[in-house]
Amino acid sequence: MEVIVAVIVGILFAVGIYLILTQDLLRIVLGTSLLTHAVHLLLMTMAMLKTGSAPLLGRGAEDIVDPLPQALILTSIVINFGITAFFLVLSYRAYQKLDTTDMERMRSESSRHRGRSQ
């Protein structure tokens, strides 16, 4: 299973990076989301998968899975949520202001704005 998941990590990474390199602001935000998922899977895979039951004590389980990646991922999920929300509102605002979500056009728009005011 680990190899398959590793391949999926690679796919998600590739898609995430590809989206980040596009010009559409919204797709960049989506790209970061996918990238986060890839990182989470990577962290999980690092500690080997399904080596025991859930990391809960007192239930008589012989083996449990590594709890540390889970703790890391939990933190990451929440931070990622905050960042995604921030990005989203940022691009929303940028669209409102400049009427585009295209990074290239945004640049010319904002310089036009500045040029007009000077």
């Binding site: 299973m1 680990e2 990474f13 797709r27 025991g52 007192g58 929440v78």
Partner: protein, 888 residues
């Protein structure tokens, strides 16, 4: 902290207080504070004289950066004291002079005196430092203050040009100096000058000895304007005249000489040091004196004259290094060159200071410094004329002034090289007296031209209408004092010789002093008919003849090829570097953030790939993997398919929903991978995120309908594929490589024992790694504040109806909004949009919470009965998000 430290640092303290004092006592010119402090420091340093003269230098140490072995050690011996007295004494006179020169009603002198005082402190620190690193620090500080003072009238292009030029050249030399110091440290293991002396002979045989010497000399030569680094000094004359008198003739340019004198016990006795220093000085002496004659600006003459005189002293310092290889009688003969250097150093500060101040007076009274427009001022400015006569006589080396004595000593020293017979001197020694004599003739000529063209002859037409008179007393007294001192040094040389010069010479040449006890410094007027005296007579005769006929042969200067001048080279190289810089920067800083992302990824791939394929510890393990259940296949394929589909989605909502699908698949993955807490959190977060995305479109209907597929771009595609492959390899490598014991065992063991919780993940989050969680909450808080502000600003912008107004107008509205917010806090105008968003989110959150608690009973019961702490994760996560938002 000792008194000496306090004295050294007091100029910095006053510099910090000057702006306040200027406000507190507006009627008093701020220059008086600087003058008072300088005079005070001069008196205080004079108090150390008996002790230093008796041969017991003062050392005061103060641990500054103990971990790096850098202590702020001050060391006051004869050499340091000579310089320190020159710095503070000239400082006091220049400050008094500047009070009259700097009209406080026209320009604010505050920044001028802040720089001047900072410079004085830096210069004092430089000559008193015993640690090479602190010395370097002060060295650069003098360059910076010099830069600021040259550019004091920065609205003038020439001032900016001169300031930059001096900074670039002296800073380049400074870097050389630093490297030289570091090499000295590598060789000797110490940064303390005193300890460096004790290392002695082994240093000279070290392979790094010569590079260190050359680097340090580059520093000293750039600072002391030695050929070919002299080009910054004439341009530095754009500084106000008090600055030229102080920094660019009396003190800062002598820092290079100080360094050479200070370190000569380390380097002297080697042929490289002798030839580099003495020949460098000799060439500078000749070049400066020849170039000074063709100058038409009074300050230009003085600038080239300063270059020439600095070369003279440098040459003497080089000659004095011969004392290191001789014994007895001969050693003292060459040590006399060192004495001459120090005496001339003092004389030069005195007469050049006076002449600069006279140039300032002439400029101040007539409005020009061009000798072609000046003339015949002796009748109307008798005092200035007298002062300049004293100064020029001393500069030309005529009796009965101090300059005559030191010039005689110089000529004697160069004649003495004929008898040395070491370092190939038997073939080349004749060079020294010959060049010295020619340079002295030119020195006589420019001294004569300085006086005659300004003060004698007929008044020029342009000047006739002006009512010219002597400068106010405040401006006249400092140069008059210096002129008097030039005479006193000539008539009673013993005054300075035994008190100042002798201790300084002994500090500079400890070997000579150790042998003969004290270095004899008897400076006399009459030596008999020595070669030096005949040379002087020749200089006066030829000099007078050439000065008289100067107008006739001055045309010869036109034959100097201007195209090959060093200034041209400097300007061309500056333009060249500018163009290169622009080109290189434009090459990679193209303003597109996507390119920057690619750089980051490229670097990451390079480093990761290198480690992955070059490390022998990395193995790709095979076998013993977990089994995949059939339903897990579905999820895995779903993840892959969902991910791949996102870039192909034409419309944005579809892309969002596909991303959401991947998120929910992840939730399921977490369930299968025995991570119930993650599954719950992921589900909550995914739901909110998708809702947020779609909410965006609710407010921006245009964006929803806009169809735009992602255009295929091969470079991006390749980068993405490469990163993907690399990350797969990283994942596999991590699986196969296990060099350390996992730290997870500790958490599993201690979770119940130490923290009393059974859900290990939660225990790690809230207990073992509680700080991480706190910082995570902070991230959320920062994000919420950011979001809140963006929403708020949007509302202001639309509400005021200023969207059609210019961008800057918008910004000021935004600023106003922020300001209002800061003022009113929550009582400020309510924000409809914010409430809307907030309530929308609350609506979303509440059902989710319900769902969460449901799932606690439902899904979790499948996985096991949670104890009290177990439910912490989903419950803390959700309120945390809410809390973060509502906090803002």
């Amino acid at each position: 902290m000792s008194l000496l430290h306090l004295l050294t640092l007091s100029p910095f303290l006053l510099a910090a207080l000057i702006p306040l004092l200027g406000k507190a006592v507006p009627r008093l010119h701020t220059g008086w504070f600087a003058a008072a402090l300088s005079a005070l420091l001069f008196a205080a340093l004079l108090g150390y004289l008996p002790e230093v003269r008796a041969g017991s230098p003062i050392t005061e140490s103060f641990a500054w950066i103990p971990s790096l072995g850098i202590s702020f050690t001050l060391y006051l011996d004869g050499l340091s004291l000579l310089f320190a007295l020159m710095i503070t004494g000239m400082g006091a006179l220049v400050a008094v002079y500047s009070v009259a020169y700097m009209d406080s009603s026209k320009e604010s002198p505050t920044s001028f005196y802040v720089c001047l005082l900072t410079f004085m402190g830096a210069m004092l620190g430089l000559v008193l430092s015993d640690n090479l690193l602190t010395l370097y620090g002060f060295w650069e500080l003098t360059s910076i203050t010099s830069f600021l003072l040259i550019g004091y009238r920065h609205e003038n292009y020439r001032a900016r040009y001169g300031a930059l030029k001096s900074l670039l050249i002296t800073m380049t030399g400074g870097l050389g100096l630093l490297s030289g110091f570091v090499l000295l440290y590598v060789m000797s293991g110490t940064y303390r000058i005193r300890e460096l002396f004790e290392v002695g002979a082994p240093l000279a045989s070290h392979p790094l000895f010569l590079p260190a010497m050359i680097l340090i000399l580059v520093g000293a030569f750039t600072k002391s304007a030695q050929y070919p680094f002299h080009i910054w000094l004439p341009d530095a004359m754009e500084a106000p005249t008090p600055v030229s008198a102080y920094l660019h003739s009396a003190t800062m340019v002598k820092a290079g000489l100080y360094l050479v004198a200070r370190l000569s016990p380390v380097f002297s006795g080697t042929p490289e040091w002798f030839w580099l220093v003495s020949l460098g000085g000799l060439v500078t002496l000749l070049y400066g004196s020849v170039a000074a004659v063709k100058q038409t600006d009074l300050k230009g003459i003085l600038a080239y004259s300063t270059i020439s005189q600095l070369g003279l002293i440098m040459c003497l310092l080089g000659l004095s290094s011969l004392s290191g290889i001789f014994d007895g009688e001969e050693q003292l003969l060459y040590a006399a060159a060192g004495t001459a250097a120090l005496f001339h150093l003092l004389n030069h500060a005195v007469f050049k200071g006076a002449l600069f101040m006279v140039a300032g007076i002439v400029d101040h009274e007539t409005g020009t410094r061009d000798i072609r427009k000046l003339g015949g001022l002796a009748q109307v400015m008798p005092i200035a004329f007298t002062i300049s006569l004293f100064g020029a006589f001393s500069m030309a080396g005529l009796p009965p002034f101090g300059g005559f004595l030191s010039k005689e000593m110089f000529l004697e020293a160069v004649v003495e090289t004929l008898h040395a017979g070491v370092f190939d001197l038997h073939t080349w020694a004749a060079l020294f007296p010959f060049v010295a004599w020619i340079a002295s003739v030119f020195t006589f000529i420019y001294s004569a031209l300085f006086v005659t063209r300004t003060f004698l002859g007929p008044r020029k037409k342009a000047m006739r209408g002006l009512k010219i008179h002597d400068a106010p007393a405040l401006m006249t007294i400092p140069p008059a004092l210096l002129a008097a001192l030039a005479l006193v040094l000539g008539l009673f040389p013993g005054l300075a010789a035994y008190s100042l010069i002798q201790p300084a010479a002994e500090a500079m040449m400890p070997i000579a002093a150790a042998d003969g006890g004290r270095i004899p410094v008897e400076i006399k007027f009459w030596h008999g008919w020595t070669p030096a005296l005949w040379m002087t007579i020749g200089i006066v005769a030829f000099g007078a003849l050439l000065a008289w006929s100067a107008r006739r042969w001055a045309k010869l200067y036109a034959f100097f090829p201007r195209r090959l001048s060093i200034n041209r080279f400097y300007d061309a190289s500056l333009r060249f570097f500018e163009r290169i810089t622009v080109w290189v920067t434009a090459f990679y800083m193209n303003g597109s953030s996507r390119s920057y992302v690619k750089y980051i990824l490229g670097f990451m791939m390079l480093v990761l790939g290198f480690i992955l394929f070059n490390s022998t510890d990395v193995t790709f393990r095979v076998g013993a993997y977990a089994q995949i259940a059939p339903y897990e296949w579905v999820i895995l394929l779903g993840l892959a398919a969902g991910g791949i589909a996102v870039p192909f989605a034409k419309s944005r909502p579809v892309a969002i929903i596909l991303t959401g699908t991947v998120g929910y698949m992840m939730t399921l993955m977490f369930v299968f991978l025995r991570a119930p807490d993650l599954a719950l959190t992921q589900m909550v977060v995914e739901s909110i995120s998708v809702t947020l995305y779609l909410l965006c479109f609710y407010h921006l209907p245009k964006l929803r309908t806009e169809q735009q597929a992602v255009r295929f771009r091969l470079p991006n595609f390749l980068v993405a594929i490469a990163v993907g492959v690399l990350m797969t390899l990283v994942a596999l490598a991590v699986l196969g490589t296990n060099p350390f014991e996992p730290i997870s065992d500790y958490y599993v063991r201690e979770s119940y024992e130490s923290a009393g919780g059974k859900n290990i993940v939660n225990v790690i989050l809230v207990d073992f790694r509680g700080f991480d969680t706190m910082l995570e909450i902070m991230v959320l808080a920062v994000a919420s504040i950011g979001i809140y502000n963006m929403i708020k600003l949007r509302r202001k912008a639309t509400d005021v109806g200023s969207r059609h107004v210019s961008h800057d107008g918008d910004e000021s509205d935004e600023d106003a909004a922020v300001f209002r917010h800061a003022q009113y806090g929550h009582d400020g105008p309510t924000e409809e949009t914010l409430d809307e968003r907030g309530s929308a989110e609350n609506e979303q959150l509440e059902p989710l919470e319900a769902e969460t608690s449901e799932s606690e009973g439902g899904k979790l019961s499948e996985l096991g009965e949670p104890d009290d702490r177990d439910s912490a994760s989903p419950e803390t996560e959700v309120p945390r998000m809410k809390g973060g938002d509502s906090d803002a």
